[in-house]
Amino acid sequence: MIEQSPAFILLAPFFTAIFIALVGIRFRWICFPLVLISLTLSVIASVCTLFRVLDEGTLRYFLGGWAPPFGIEFRIDGLNALVAIVITVVALITGIYSRQRVLAETPDKVSQFYTLYLLLVAGLVGMVITGDAFNLYVLLEISSLTSYGLIAMGPKRATLATFKYIIMGTIGASFYLLGVGYLYIKTGSLNMLDIHEQLVANNLLGSQSVMVAFIMITIGVWIKMAFFPLHSWLPNAYAFAPTTTSSLLAPLVTKVMIYVMIRMMLTVFGVEYTFIQLDWSNIVIWMSVIAILSGSVMALAQTDLRKMLAFLIIAEVGYMVGGVWLADQSGMIGAIYHIISDAFMTLCVFLFAGIVFAKTGNRNINAVEGMFKKMPLTMMAFIVGAFSLIGIPPTCGFFSKWYLIQGGINSGHWEFVIALLLSSLINAILFFRIIEIAYFGANPAEGHGHHHTEEPKRSEASPSMLIPLLCTAALLLAIGIFNDPIIRIITDFVVATGLR
């Protein structure tokens, strides 16, 4: 049973999705428990897998027993085991959270929603655990197609945003596929490890076509992760999607694409090729500096809560791309750790935005007015998330910044360090603006006020929404305080790739 754990991570949500599609329309009540069961199974399987990786080293799992280069291979090391846990846990938390929102926002499409939801999770998890470059493309498209469907379920404006996303997403995926095509022509293989071995063995790394493949794949992935000049699809898509959808997409999609970028750079092309032979670090880091700063500044200009958070994601993508391209061990550790911490930070603030929207029906940031009195627990969780995004110890955001800045100083990229610090400060402004509105109200009283207004009644959101939020906030603290074991796993992975 335990040998099959890698397959379970993917297959549990996948088959449940199909089952829900078949019976969910008739028995609506069955959807939610099934979703929870399958995602819990998936979480357990991914945790088991991580422990096995820690015990046995890199796992190779052949689906159906067919060995590569013919069969499908799952290759799991420290990196993707961690990311798989992040995905399944985020999906589970959002799954619990979805219960009420789905009934409220898309009452006539419950089973369709959950089918797509689980397929999306399966696609994301599959991208992370697969060891095959072409399979990755297929799973990428599965997750993209389902996310188009999920976003389009939103209100009016979501449809246009979805259409933009379809165009951009398809272009991105095609770039990726073209890149993989070039690699296939040169090496005759689609298995990631095999490609790398072929490239090294046949001395292909100097070839122009391999460089073109690298560029194609990188650009494709950049489009999909909304790296700054290619980000335009993201803000509207995440801001207008149904709340559950954006709570699931925002933490995961961009982070999984970062993972794909790291996997391609380190495993397929190799450290030697990406950082030493190509040596494009300077350009990419400047691009990420621009991404960080412009993402933060654009976030400042927003009055729509979720749109503001969406622009923050663009800045955070800049953190991670920059961190990866620093070509430095600490920078890479920081970027990978940031994948984990940022997934939960984003989840936390998006869950909060969802609760605010559910409670007030208002998208504007002024909707949080008076929330400290009305929903103290919700605000507490939000403050943890906000502090984490600002980077205040001991939340996990502090430690990812710690490593990223260390990487920046180590490799001498001071522009990156300054961008990180500036973006922390802008985040502080952003979040204290919200905290101020919640604390003082949108228009506080003039003068030296001892206003004794009627205490507004406490009305927290229902437990099915509140508990996931509180869990996420607790996770943020836990990941920060006990970051040592996580960092050890990441360090082992990074050292194994040969990056110094």
Binding site: A428, G441, A445, N483, D484
Partner: protein
């Protein structure tokens, strides 16, 4: 007896006890007496824990406790030495007095959200003791940030427009300096030394960095700990005076600003090392900045009519004394600085208590409205007089000793210009304090704005301010 290092959980507990007290405080939010009972209970336990470590420290030992390794090679660790002990003693004893005063002040004015007030007060104290007992830079930074954020709801307690502006200034200055200056400096040091960044008596930077890097780091730390209010990063302090007076008293005369000064002294002595700094001759520049701050802030204080603002600018000047003392890089200067932390704390908290008591009893905030107030609130104004003597440094209160050491430090180092700065500033201090007292007692009857009926503030407040005033006098008898 040789100095030994003991391992004990007590310092951690001393820091945590007030954090734990938040739970009963919030739980009993609807029963004020019980709620305040827990505040006092936590205060006395805290003081008891700190006192229990005193004999060990006096015997020349240190106490250490490592919680856990949070980043490879870096841990959250506590360490108690004599300097941290002084600061912890001052902070924990004044917390109890301030709690007493808060009860009087907050109930007297029927303030809203008192539960929140007491909770965040307790959290702030945890952070303060945490700073005092930090063993390394990372732990120090952690508690420093915690203090900035925990005091924000206190500063903005009134939740009106003025409070919002004050709170914005407060956080902008404190967060931008700590994230923008201290954090990169911290990471840079960690990278350069690769060590655990433990404070050691001779510093650990020497030999790892060059002169120019040392200069930049020194500036980053000196301005980064903006809680110390060195110009040009001082204006959060007058801005934060929108807070209720107990907050201004404890946090802005004692905990917050002294934490800034404490951090700077810790970094100078424990990270750079006095010898390293004097070899590179980096102290002079800091003394000039401090001297500038002292004179400028005293002059600004002269022009302020709002009593609390005048006290705030006086604090800016007095903090710069502490920085000046340590930047002299002489043993006497350093002793003077450390003593000044304690002496100024008692003096300034008395002055703030008096300002609050006057506001609570009469609603007056401006000095021009306080002519003849001595007839109505004699105890308060006598305490005010004692407090101002201590701050000016006259030989009737504790402030005398610290100023004495500071002056001695300048003389022994041959820094005659700094000596003159200190003397002029003492004159200015006298010039902005004593007229208030003088006009309160000795005005012509027709000038007096108050009737000749004694009517003091809430008794809790009066007891508290008398205690701190007596404390100021008592400190005179302490000899180091």
């Amino acid at each position: 007896m040789t100095p030994t290092t003991l391992t004990s959980f007590t310092p951690v507990l001393a820091s945590l006890v007030s954090l734990l007290a938040v739970l009963p405080i919030v739980y009993f939010g609807r029963k004020p007496n019980l709620r305040e009972g827990f505040t006092f209970l936590a205060g006395f336990i805290k003081l008891g824990l700190v006192l229990s470590m005193l004999p060990i420290i006096l015997a020349g030992n240190t106490i250490e406790y490592t919680l856990w390794e949070i980043v490879p090679n870096l841990s959250i660790a506590f360490r108690v030495d004599s300097f941290g002990m002084i600061f912890a003693l001052v902070a924990s004893s004044l917390w109890i007095v301030t709690s007493l005063y808060s009860v009087g002040y907050m109930r007297g004015l029927k303030e809203h959200s008192q539960t929140r007030f007491y909770s965040f007060f307790a959290i702030s104290l945890s952070a303060t003791i945490g700073v005092a007992f930090s063993a390394n830079l990372l732990t120090l930074y952690l508690f420093y940030e915690m203090l900035s954020l925990a005091t924000y709801p206190l500063v903005t307690h009134h939740q009106d427009k003025e409070a919002r502006t004050g709170g914005r200034t407060y956080l902008t200055y404190l967060l931008s300096t700590s994230i923008g200056f201290v954090l990169p400096a911290l990471i840079f040091i960690f990278l350069k030394t690769g060590s655990s960044m433990d404070f050691t008596s001779g510093g650990f930077l020497s030999g790892h960095i060059g002169a120019s890097e040392a200069l930049v780091l020194l500036l980053l730390f000196t301005f980064g700990f903006a809680k110390a209010g060195l110009m040009p990063f001082h204006s959060w302090l007058p801005g934060a005076m929108v807070a209720p007076t107990p907050v201004s008293a404890l946090l802005h005369a004692v905990a917050v600003v002294k934490v800034g000064a404490f951090c700077i002294i810790r970094v100078y002595t424990g990270v750079f090392g006095i010898d390293f700094l004097s070899n590179l001759d980096l102290g002079t520049m800091i003394t000039w900045i401090a001297a500038f701050t002292i004179i400028t802030s005293s002059l600004i204080a002269l022009t302020q009519d709002n009593l609390k603002r005048r006290l705030a600018f006086s604090t800016v000047g007095q903090l710069a004394y502490i920085i000046l003392g340590v930047a002299l890089l002489t043993p006497y200067g350093l002793t003077g600085s450390m003593m000044h932390i304690a002496m100024h704390a008692f003096g300034k908290i008395t002055l703030f208590f008096c300002a609050g008591a006057i506001f609570q009893a009469t609603g007056k905030k401006y000095i021009s409205e306080m002519v003849g107030i001595g007839k109505r609130m004699p105890i308060t104004m006598i305490a005010f007089f004692i407090g101002s003597m201590s701050v000016v440094g006259l030989p009737f209160a504790g402030g005398f000793w610290s100023k004495f050491y500071l002056l001695w430090g300048t003389v022994s180092d041959g820094q005659h210009f700094m000596l003159i700065v200190l003397l002029i500033s003492s004159l200015l201090n006298a010039a902005y304090f004593f007229p208030i007292v003088f006009k309160a007692f000795f005005c012509k009857p027709e000038e007096s704005l108050f009737e000749n009926k004694i009517q003091e503030a809430h008794p809790c407040a009066v007891i508290a301010l008398s205690l701190t005033a007596l404390g100021s006098i008592f400190l005179l008898s302490i000899r180091i």
